[in-house]
Symmetry: C2
Subunit: 189 residues, 2 copies
């Protein structure tokens, strides 16, 4: 998606070779008009797929997912990072390794909000190693729901997550795919 | 706002006398069309106030804030609950007591995204004891930004937060104000 690629070129900041900061428009300060354009693009790509719900993960997926959901006319469910070790039986639960903070997050979603009849679009801001997206896929599988596909804002195509998730048969639509950002130069696929 | 009150009556669940669960439409599963109607109501209430940015706090404020921001034509900044104890100098920082999880959260926002010229609308899903809203007000003050007001979805008017924040001169517009929910019966103000 040209608009997102141009924005990343203009406002993205490359740090330490493989960290891309897009916090001025994507995941700290958020340009909701850009999110609307992204939502329209996913709605075009997944037209006719009878998506009835969007599943995302806190925190930075939520804003993108909610604005995109307006274009689909469906509700959003966000998987929560649990702050207690006390996981009850009324939730689906998965452990997601965190590369930003280290360690593992317990990620949960209420069983009331993921159903076997659901046709889900997964949405997240980044796809790099694939841990968050695989966590969402796992939660959907526990519920017996159908994963129609995943809408990703920025995919670091030089990391293995995208390939691994696609190899499992998940359709992944990333609106900007970064081939390389060596020496601070961002190249898209 | 009638639409939100009716939804709370229909789908809200009162637990233990003073816990209101609205997780089927507000803060776990999210009805984005309802959020759009809420955004329009805040845009009407704050018309002419030259709001240029919305400030919210992760996680459950983000979806409401992003959809509402489309009605204002402004970006959103969300304050982050820090997962490290290592708070650097490039952020504004406040400690917010958590009544749901116990303890205190370190809440931060990048100094790049709150400016003295900003005219802020604060948005959150709940106002009860006022801790989160006071945290956001504090962050805005650190930046020298102007708080035009706060848009709250559900205020528990029988708890002291709303009164305390209003006493500081903040205009608070809560779309549903609950007077009492003793014995499971929800009464609005």
């Amino acid at each position: 998606m040209k608009e997102l690629e141009e924005r990343i070129r203009r406002d993205g900041i490359v740090e330490d070779g493989d960290v891309l900061k897009v916090d001025s428009f994507l995941n700290h300060q958020m340009d909701v008009e850009l999110f609307r354009a992204m939502g329209r693009e996913w709605a075009r790509l997944f037209a006719g797929e009878r998506i009835n719900k969007i599943l995302t993960i806190e925190a930075s997926g939520i804003g993108i997912a909610c604005v995109a959901a307006l274009e689909f006319g469906v509700p959003v469910v966000f998987a929560k990072k649990s702050r207690t070790r006390n996981i009850t039986g009324d939730v689906y639960h998965v452990q997601v390794p965190s590369f930003t903070h280290g360690g593992v997050s317990d990620v949960i979603v209420s069983k009331r909000f993921l159903l076997p009849t659901d046709r889900l679009l997964l949405i997240d801001d980044f796809l790099a190693n694939g841990a968050a997206l695989e966590g969402l896929t796992d939660l959907a599988e526990q519920a017996g729901a159908t994963v129609v596909g995943a809408g990703i804002a920025v995919e670091k195509a030089f990391q293995p997550g995208g390939e691994r998730v696609r190899a499992k048969g998940v359709r992944v639509e990333s609106l900007a795919r970064i081939k390389s950002m060596a020496s601070g130069q961002i190249e898209f696929c």
